[in-house]
């Protein structure tokens, strides 16, 4: 069942992105930045966590979850260390996405030759 919800919720978030592309004529950069901010806002109001419980990867795979986990890590540390935790905890949860992108980007650049 969670597979179906992952499909539907993930698909819907992509449709929102597509509408921002086509109807509001935003560039991919603007669209993704907006979605990240939206994800961060949703977590600020405590709404993203229930969505993850409900849709699983449908909520964690879209880029909105990047904003969510940034806020999440920051809040987690902030509870322990106060205001300084906001900065020290920022990348705590989301480190895998960034480090994977950097590592595989480097490996990709070593392995593959640019085309065209």
């Amino acid at each position: 069942m969670v597979f179906l919800w992952a499909f539907l919720v993930g698909g819907l978030i992509c449709v929102v992105g597509q509408i921002m592309f086509d109807v509001f004529k935003l560039t991919p950069g603007h669209t993704l930045s907006t979605l990240v901010v939206v994800g961060a806002l949703l977590d600020g109001f405590g709404l993203y966590e229930p969505l993850i419980d409900f849709a699983g990867a449908g909520a964690t795979v879209p880029i909105t979850s990047f904003g969510n986990s940034l806020v999440h890590g920051a809040m987690e540390e902030a509870e322990k260390h106060g205001l300084i935790g906001v900065i020290t905890g920022m990348f705590k949860v989301t480190s895998s996405g960034i480090s994977a992108a950097i590592i595989f980007g480097m490996i990709g650049a070593i392995l593959f030759k640019p085309k065209g």
Binding site: F7, G17, F21, S33, P62, G67, G97, G105
Partner: protein, 158 residues
Amino acid sequence: MSKKQNKLTPEQQKYQQFAKKREVKRPVIKNCIKAFLVGGTICTIGQAISTFYMYYFNFTEQTVGNPTVATLIFITMLLTGFGVYDHIAQFAGAGTAVPVTGFGNAVISASIEHRTEGFVLGVGGNMFKLAGSVILFGVFSAFIIALVKTILIQWGGL
């Protein structure tokens, strides 16, 4: 927009209207359906990977997002390197851009593309050329939100 248009000469305005009329109409509904199907499929694959990690590596539902994202970015690297990702992205639009694979693709394609300029200035300098804005706005908005929330909790007694 109107402010910008006021500065244009009449000829330029005429041209703007002319160009607007001949702009190719985007098939919004069709694109949305494609984005929905492909994006949904990517998330379903992500769910399958999550289930695999939860079952074999003792991750919980809350922590499983991390290895899933890393695995998806690894798959993206292979697809980008072999030139398959571009074709899928052409077809799916936001369906491949919005999931984390789009973020991975932006980083990986930029680093492959600039490899000819050398590893330090090319790959290192351009890796986050496209994905940088996502990180910047994500981090900055998360900072503001977490700051406000922490202040509210600590001194507002929320």
